[in-house]
Symmetry: C2
Subunit: 351 residues, 2 copies
Amino acid sequence: MEPIEGRRREILRIVIDDYIATAEPIGSEAVRERHGLNVSSATVRNEMAALEDMGYLNQPHTSAGRVPTDRGYRVYVDSLVPEETPPPAEQTRLRETLFLQEEPHRAIARVAHALAAGTEYASVVEAPHLHEQVIRHLHLIPLTPRRALIVVVTDAGVFEGKTVELEAATSPDECDRLSQEISRRVAGWRLGDLTVRAMDQVIGEVALYRQVVIEVGRLIGDQIAASSRIHTEGQANILKQPEFRDARRAEPVLSALERHEVVTEILHDGGSVPADSRSAAMKLKPVRITIGAEHRREEMRDTSVVAATYYVGGRPAGELAIVGPTRMRYGRAISLVRFLADTLGEALGRL
Amino acid sequence: MEPIEGRRREILRIVIDDYIATAEPIGSEAVRERHGLNVSSATVRNEMAALEDMGYLNQPHTSAGRVPTDRGYRVYVDSLVPEETPPPAEQTRLRETLFLQEEPHRAIARVAHALAAGTEYASVVEAPHLHEQVIRHLHLIPLTPRRALIVVVTDAGVFEGKTVELEAATSPDECDRLSQEISRRVAGWRLGDLTVRAMDQVIGEVALYRQVVIEVGRLIGDQIAASSRIHTEGQANILKQPEFRDARRAEPVLSALERHEVVTEILHDGGSVPADSRSAAMKLKPVRITIGAEHRREEMRDTSVVAATYYVGGRPAGELAIVGPTRMRYGRAISLVRFLADTLGEALGRL
DNA sequence: GTTAGCACTCTAGGGGCGCGAGTGCTAATT
DNA sequence: AATTAGCACTCGCGCCCCTAGAGTGCTAAC
């Protein structure tokens, strides 16, 4: 695929910028007017015809202006899109609110909100992966003689509770001792390493322990699948987009966003990472973008997703993304996703 | 307002039933055909004209059939609606899945799902109110010398975590003692009674305690406002309804369902409780229904809400509701809401 | 390589028209 | 007095036709 040079490239950028802004097909005359191109509309027409041949533009019908194709958007995000870093005031405001949050799930909710409110699209934020987290404490809280609540505190500050059925009646004091015993032995482990087999080696075959370990293992598995790990916001924003004016178009998308297997897929699938020299030079975390037909899921083919991973303590902790129409303000979306991924990672690291 | 007698009443019921089923205005001939009314369409027309005068029906235009008004639906739900109790198989299935859940928030998620899936509308379920719950244990889990995680276990089985900044450095052992001390003194209290003043009387002025108490108080306040307390599902179902075919109609509704102050209002506002003789006789928990224009919120005027309170240990614990178009299958919605409120209450009571 | 000029294409939007559904009224029937 | 047959009437919906205008591609000149 030959690279697109100077003027033609500029025209592609203008068409896409304008189309993103107006949601209307863009004609040759409109392109010429904007950013005083010193050429006639006929020349622009020739270029646009060429861009159409190359598969970057499309006309809805013969007498209409041009509209970007998914491939056009791809070129755009890979090399044309102007970054729209949020204004410094906004940045500090966001940073401050995030650093104020004491609970991880609060911080996550704030990020989801900021993403949705800042772009008028939908946002999805995933809580830190459990298996990567390192155990700091494990506590058993006696509920009844035969039941206890397991609370695990990890380095990412996320604690999860689950009740466990004990095999023998246990007094609160016994429970405490048991708790400290286990806690001492598993502190420092990655949650993902906490398999029954690994535990057996350290702890031995004491029945009560095993039960607790099994339940913790289950807790991890369950939580990975639990909807509480995913925070979605701003679905209604999608309805504001003119391309989703017809609810029958929007319905599959919103349905997909309610099914958390789909959301997980969206978050992790992350399309190709643009080999963008700018971001490489600036050591920015990469942002993954999936555009329209690039989606695996049929129902997402009218949307684009801008996703990023956030890191806590240098390790990948979770994902966040924006979901909007393919006619998305990519500049804003990319910058915001990148900024909030960084900031969320930092904020969680400090808890 | 005179009560509506025999045939006229029957006709109103038929019109509303049919309209709910088809979403199309119902004509006199269609009414006669259904349930072989032994009268001519002219007679039906007279009755329908009367019902329109009374404000229960409406015609979109002169040459169309009749459509129920909000007042019509009101009469319908108050005295005409046929209960549609879920089939026994369904009931046991739901009951079993709910009783299997070990975590309250899981059970709540299941209920939200069942409500949405069982009706094709949106559902909202609120976690048990905190202030009504009775403290069973309170634990402090040391994180750093100056920070600890508060875990409160209550009778409704809901436990909540929050970190607290301690005023003085505290060793894990100290923390444990402190924890047991406080726990012993507050066990049995209603969370709502856990004010700083009340605590001071029992505990005295020890600084460390105060800080913990203040934080627990804040925890309650925060959680009451926290979005994690509300589980919404099936918003996309609303887009499937023909009256919301136009996304611009649906958008305000979905936006409202994303704002949790609005949802809280919807859940508690609960319109008039029908003085339905049947449900009174059968000792069924009342269901609160708000229809279209009865809503306080402008943006909800095209929807109806069927809400109920669920009880744990005899006390009101939380709310759940279905949100759909005013053209709602009330029979199904009411039965399902009632059944799931009962079952959720029972299930939570057993944890 | 660029541009003016022009014929051409196609959509959006408006007006006119007929169909059909459903009504309300009137007068006859029970 | 209630019911009903008959009928004229209303009005939205879909259809077709038409025009205006936007935007194109092509050609020929620069």
